[in-house]
Symmetry: C2
Subunit: 420 residues, 2 copies
């Protein structure tokens, strides 16, 4: 095991800065040393240099070309926090140059990209981990723990969404150099499936005894952004009249090999409050994020026709069902999004230090990313059902996950580390 690891960061927009300042620089004393930073924009690159120097007293190497980072001697890992379109070239280059790679969330633009990531990881032996922080969310991990303990029974269905009013972020994309604007202008798909699908995939043993078989995706019309811009900037603003390709609501339905269904909703351009809307439906109990409530068969049936007295009851289950990792971690969480950001990065860096497989592996990463390109295909062909590739080439049928890490999210690991 390495006591210290040297890492590089590629991409220093909003997300890169947040992970750096709120998490990574806090891990300096745990041996995570930022040796290199990169952004295509010089101002952002220098901001990264300054942020690192302010904490560590040492200026990191910097470049506007990611290849200077991925080929750099002495780096153990690269963290990719660039725009969606930039993820794959950096991921591939990092693996080819022998560096562990973690990529921020984002969907794929082609299935071929997903295969390239998988094949490159197989050929090089280098792990690739999507930093799907929501896999480490407190409620999400409580659900994994409930499932392990038999509290939920058998699961038939899960749903979730990325339901986040991004009208301001998107419409100010030009001045903020934000990739979302150009994507929303030209592209129509489930562009951000992983925050809900990541934890659902863990619950449903995707790639370990189960897999996602096919999906359909359907998009609504696009009214939200035009009206937002018209109200904010007037009807003469170019974005008030442009045809946004991206529909306001995209609904994607996935069918799994074991028979479960998963419904995903992308909902980012109409007024609403934030939610990932996680719903898990088992034969013994259900969880509903939108009311943060747990329905237990045989206990809550008397509330059949008015559930409102139980809204918010999930907190009553924390003492018994919080995941052991959270039972400890909740007292001192690191980083944004309630501490998930800290957990997902600790999980990655632990694997880098130990030279082991990452808890979210390359097959998980490809399975999560591929949904965007497939949803684009389904929408563009009238909601046709589209097959989801088996990136494991059959190994999922009997595959067992690595159990080296307490951060591993698979049932076999959860059982080994927490349920013995």
């Amino acid at each position: 095991m390495k006591e210290k690891i040297n890492i590089g960061i590629v991409g220093y927009g909003c997300r890169g800065k947040s992970l750096m300042v709120d998490v990574i620089l806090h891990l300096y004393n745990e041996g995570v040393i930022v040796k290199a930073v990169c952004d295509t924009y010089e101002d952002r690159m220098f901001e990264a240099v300054n942020d690192v120097e302010a904490t560590t007293g040492v200026k990191p190497f910097c470049s506007t070309d990611y290849r200077d980072i991925t080929t750099m001697d002495g780096l153990d890992a690269v963290v990719v926090t660039a725009s969606w379109e930039a993820h794959v070239p950096v991921i591939l280059s990092a693996m080819k140059n022998g560096k562990y790679v973690a990529t921020e969330v984002g969907g794929s633009y082609s299935i071929n990209d997903c295969w390239e990531i998988v094949r490159t990881s197989e050929q090089t032996g280098i792990p690739c981990m999507m930093l799907e922080n929501c896999c480490y969310g407190r409620r999400e991990m409580m659900l994994m723990n409930m499932l392990d303990k038999g509290f939920l029974g058998q699961i038939s269905h899960c749903s979730g969404g990325y339901m986040h009013d991004l009208r301001s972020e998107i419409s100010h994309g030009k001045e903020n150099r934000h990739y979302r604007l150009r994507n929303y202008l030209r592209r129509n798909c489930e562009n951000y499936p992983t925050h809900e699908l990541g934890p659902i995939a863990m619950l449903l043993d995707i790639n370990y005894g189960n897999r996602m078989l096919s999906l359909t995706s359907t998009s609504s019309c696009a009214h939200g952004l035009n009206e937002f811009v018209k109200n904010e900037k007037g009807g003469d603003h170019p974005l008030a009249k442009v045809n946004f390709a991206q529909g306001d609501i995209v609904t994607t339905v996935i069918k799994c090999a074991r028979g479960e269904t998963i419904t995903l909703t992308l909902d980012t351009t109409l007024p609403r409050a934030y939610s990932r809307g996680i719903t898990v439906r088992g034969t013994k109990a259900a969880y509903f994020e939108d009311t943060d409530s747990v329905f237990v068969d045989g206990v809550h049936n008397k509330f059949d026709f008015d559930w409102s007295p139980q809204w918010g009851n999930a907190k009553n289950y924390e003492d018994e069902y919080d995941h052991p990792l959270w039972a400890e971690y909740k007292n001192n969480p690191t980083g944004g999004h309630g501490g998930m950001d800290g957990l997902v990065l600790k999980a990655f860096f632990e694997s880098v230090k130990n030279g082991t497989q990452t808890p979210i592996d390359v097959y998980d990463t490809a399975s999560l990313m591929c949904i965007s390109a497939l949803s684009e295909e389904s929408i563009s062909t009238g909601s046709s059902p589209v097959a989801i590739p088996d990136f494991t080439n059959g190994a999922w049928i009997e595959r067992e996950p690595p159990v080296e890490s307490k951060y591993c999210l698979r049932k076999i690991c959860r059982d080994k580390f927490y349920n013995q």
Copy 2:
């Protein structure tokens, strides 16, 4: 206008009795006279006779053969509250014999049945109304009123479901002679789409300037009923091991001509509390039934990351936005389901008395019913997109609804009766 109308009831199971005892017999003084009753089971038929006699003092005609009712002289209308499979023959026979017909909710078994209903109504000039009580629900009508007043902006998406734990009703179907059991054993589809889709169709102007173009439908595995029976009656009970065809959760996504999407969820065999889960997403505001809350753009944005303080806020909008029909009716509602049953039957009987078109017409009825057969087709062909027939044969493009009734649910009627 007729002061009095004579009606017959076909089907006297749970629903027939509820409509009779809770609503229809209360309308006796308003000139609705039950002259005939029918059920294939003699005991139920006599129960109907007794219920009518107890209120009116007069025994109605009775038969176990619906044709005795649909061909009976002197009847103005027939109300069909029989099993799902029995609806269409009674509907067709009633129209062919010159009687207004109202049918309880239920999905179709074939698209041909839907066309037959439409063509028979066109040829005979006799209206056919689905008794979709939820079209007259208080919240649903408040949403119509909010839409009319511009409060919601433009709508991009609606969703809803029939989310009702029916495990006990279904698994006791044999002793209760309930049609659901045989349907759940053999058939897999969105078998009950209309409670949510009825009001959504009114909001989205379906068949009047808009129409439903296509759908996909995806079913989960079926675990709920087996496990319920095993726990209740033991693992040796035949229903504990039988393969139920009906999946626990069926998700259907509909695309409309104007671009809106509609998501329907059938959710009847897993533990949960009742909900129709109506969600309406406009450019200015949203409604979420599961938290009975309204999100208004520019007002509620500060609750972006914690919506819970606003859970249940929809009641604050009742004074301003309750539909005028409800503002009056709420003080003295008739019948079950919070008064919706009373409104939908009053609407039907008013049309019968006036000899006018019914507020939910034969095109609406066929459009709502057809979803079941189409979802069966989509599920059985791997969630293929399936075209939804245009039962108006193009008339929807410029069709204007009748405006004779204050119960009419179309925007043009709502404007004429309430918004001038």
